[in-house]
């Protein structure tokens, strides 16, 4: 058997796990590991400019591929800088392994230089964590970390490694385990057959059914089964923010995103449904509005791999714990065997009602295009959708631009829409786009952002130059923190407390100074040609600074404490 030092074992274990890229930043506690990285070629390391970006890159990679992303950071500030990134991944159940350096074992607890209790600080926002005590445990711990991160309900796992454990002079037998078993952890591999049969019976007898599908469909790699089921049953489908792309966005059965900024049609259909099939979704507060008024007539079938997600906020009538793919396979089988009859008339009437909700508003997300002198943010996303042929990987930051992207870019494939849904992390978009671009170098990758969010990780423009990451930055610039401003308009009599920024940089010059291309767009007529130019520059990072109307609001918007159907439809109309 081969003898390796702890530092070499860390890197070899990653290589044996099939990791191609790690995103990180060196420092004292990790110098042995960085030396080991230097002496090999299998794993390539991407040097970020801030550790938060390393975590978001790993996250972006994971959302685009379904495989765990890996970040490598030093002790103390290196570790704490990843916390926002870990919390982001935890909230959205994203598989990730974060390897942090730690001060030498004997010094732990002595407040040594760059010491922080990483396992303690990250505890509430990780699926699990390890503090490595012996070098010979490294292969097994790393294997466990990857296994835990990507099985069951996925999530981030922290591996904290004290410096002495990576001592290059101490060598141990190395063997990377092929499989791992943990007696205290057995993620479900299938759903309960009796429950599935019960759910199918309910669905077949439904008069006003709807499928409400979330991010679990994407992470569970089950969009094929979901689409098949929706087709077999001929029922409308709505997606959560994180579920977009799990069902084709341009399909006629798709009624748009639901929830706080969901479509009128999706929210009305949910409110009036008699059977809701919730698939890999968690009845988040941004979906349900007031839970006491949530969908009064509906019986709820809830499929989720995490039993703790079921009946947490909304009680399920038919709970089904299991991987969504395997459970939906069961649904498809039982539907084929179903011998009862279906009330076709009721389903037809339901579709007529849904079409009316959709058409009475002139589509899923109608908006006022104004007099054509001022650019609307919605137009930017519509142009992006057309210019990229609807086939780009789109990452986003957080705010109005995020909601517009979710509403107007119609995702037909899973893993294409990458945003921080649960935590709402500004600064996520650019590093996430970089993680995607590294793994899909030939794909079109666009980061939809705003002038507020982009400045939270703007330093990564430097990393993009170093590694030739030709992402397209679509800066929907309204010179205001748009979502904050919208709430201030609606709830604080337009008192704009700290929701605008003075002294914005020239983003064009900024992009150029980092060695990229900058384009500014100020008028509606310039938008389309500028965007076509940006996307024709295949290998270059193009920063599009697009000036849009600061007074635009995101609609529909659920009215606080109401039911799902209580919506503002514009500044003056409500349901």
């Amino acid at each position: 058997m081969e003898l390796l030092s702890g530092a070499d074992m860390v890197v070899r274990s990653l290589a044996d796990e099939g990791v191609k890229h790690i995103y990180g930043y060196p420092g004292g506690a990790l110098l042995h590991v960085y030396d080991a990285i230097f002496r090999q070629k299998e794993v390539s390391h991407i040097l970020v400019r801030h550790e938060q970006a390393a975590a978001h890159m790993a996250d972006g990679y994971a959302r685009a591929t379904g495989k765990p992303g890996v970040a490598l950071v030093t002790s103390g500030p290196g570790a704490t800088n990843t916390i926002t990134g870990i919390a982001t991944a935890y909230m959205d159940s994203i598989p990730m392994v974060i390897i942090s350096g730690q001060v030498p074992s004997a010094a732990i607890g002595s407040d040594m230089f760059q010491e922080v209790d990483m396992v303690g600080i990250s505890r509430p926002i990780v699926k699990h964590s390890f503090l490595v005590k012996r070098a010979e445990d490294i292969p097994e711990i790393i294997k466990k970390a990857f296994y835990l991160a990507q099985t069951g309900r996925p999530g981030p796992v922290v591996v904290d490694i004290p410096k002495d454990i990576t001592d290059p002079n101490l060598k141990f037998e190395y063997q990377y385990p092929e499989t791992i078993k943990l007696r205290s952890y057995t993620p479900p591999s299938k759903g309960h057959n009796g429950q599935i049969r019960k759910a199918v019976d309910l669905l077949m007898q439904a008069r006003r059914p709807i499928i409400y599908a979330g991010g679990g469909v994407i992470m569970g790699n089950a969009s094929t089964q979901l689409t098949q089921l929706a087709k077999d049953l001929n029922v409308p489908v709505t997606n959560t923010l994180n579920g977009l792309g799990g069902f084709p966005g341009s399909d006629c059965q798709f009624v748009g995103m639901l929830g706080m900024h969901g479509s009128y049609c999706a929210n009305m259909a949910m409110h009036h449904a008699d059977i809701i099939l919730a698939v890999g979704a968690r009845f988040d507060d941004r979906v349900t509005n007031n839970t006491a008024k949530f969908c009064p007539d509906a019986k709820i079938i809830h499929i989720d791999i995490d039993p703790a997600s079921i009946s947490k906020t909304i009680t399920a009538d038919v709970p089904i714990v299991g991987p969504v793919g395997a459970v939906l396979d069961g649904f498809l089988r039982h539907i084929t065997d179903y011998s009862g009859s279906r009330d076709q008339e009721a389903i037809d009437a339901w579709w007529r009602q849904i079409d009316e909700w959709r058409d009475s508003r002139g589509g899923l997300f109608p908006y006022d295009k104004g007099d054509g002198t001022i650019l609307k943010p919605q137009q930017v996303i519509e142009a992006l959708y057309e210019v990229t042929g609807g086939d780009a990987f789109v990452t986003s930051d957080v705010g109005q631009h995020q909601m517009f992207a979710a509403q107007y870019y119609r995702f037909d494939k899973p893993n294409r829409w990458i945003n921080s849904g649960g935590l709402g992390t500004m600064g996520f978009g650019l590093p996430a786009a970089m993680g995607v671009k590294l793994t899909h170098p030939d794909a079109t990758v666009a980061c939809v952002t705003g002038e507020g969010s982009i400045q939270m990780n703007i330093q990564e423009l430097s990393t993009c130059l170093q590694y030739d990451l030709g992402v397209k930055i679509i800066n929907v610039n309204n010179q205001a923190l748009g979502m904050v401003r919208q709430w201030q308009d609606m709830m604080y009599d337009s008192r704009y407390s700290h929701s605008y920024m003075e002294s914005l940089p020239s983003f064009v010059k900024l992009a150029e100074s980092y060695g990229h291309v900058g384009i500014q767009v100020t008028t509606p007529s310039d938008l389309r040609p500028a965007m076509e130019e940006a996307f024709s520059l295949k290998d270059r990072l193009v920063f599009m600074d697009i000036r849009v109307d600061a007074n635009e609001h995101v609609y529909p918007m659920q009215i606080k404490d109401g039911s799902m159907r209580d919506l503002w439809l514009s500044k003056t109309e409500r349901t």
Partner: protein, 163 residues
């Protein structure tokens, strides 16, 4: 409603802090907590008493089960069970009170485990209610110091919580 949840966890560093952290993170109550290794040194047994409506208790057990270190758990209050708490209490015992305290200890089937000319240290085992009743009987004014272990418990009959 009071619940006694008994948890079998991996005897690993950090396991206890994950469990305690879960309660504070999710705004659940801990009334008492006891923990010690079991006869299998790789496992620890932890008993926690908490309060909450059935939905809250369901979430507590589900969230505990989600922790990677948690092997198994049972809500003892769902079935018949035995629960015990140990208390050491220091009571003033001088003059005519001395004999009275001794009598009360006997009635409650306690033991005097340390004696000075003015103080008895008494060990008492029982349910929470019994320990509370003892303090009432002796009188709060006589009690100098109380230390209680927190509740531990086990299901009655054939039912066992093991691997």
């Amino acid at each position: 409603m009071r619940r006694i949840i008994s948890v079998l966890v991996e005897n690993e560093p950090g396991a206890l802090s994950r469990i305690v952290g879960l309660f504070s993170q999710r705004n659940y109550n801990i009334e008492t907590l006891t923990v010690a290794p079991t006869e299998d040194s790789t496992l620890s047994r932890l008993t926690v008493t908490t309060r909450g409506n059935p939905q809250v208790v369901e979430q507590i057990t589900k969230q505990l089960n989600k922790l990677i270190d948690v092997v198994k758990l049972v809500d003892l209050t769902e079935g018949s069970h035995v629960e015990r708490e140990l208390m050491l209490v220091k009571v003033r015992a001088s003059g005519p009170l001395r004999a009275e305290v001794k009598r009360t200890v006997d009635i409650f089937r306690g033991h005097i485990v340390d004696v000075t000319s003015s103080v008895y240290t008494i060990q008492l085992v029982g349910t929470q209610e019994k320990l509370d009743a003892f303090i009432e009987a002796v009188g709060h004014a006589q009690v100098l110091e109380v230390v209680r272990s927190g509740i531990t418990g086990i299901a009655r009959g054939e039912k066992v919580l093991t691997l």
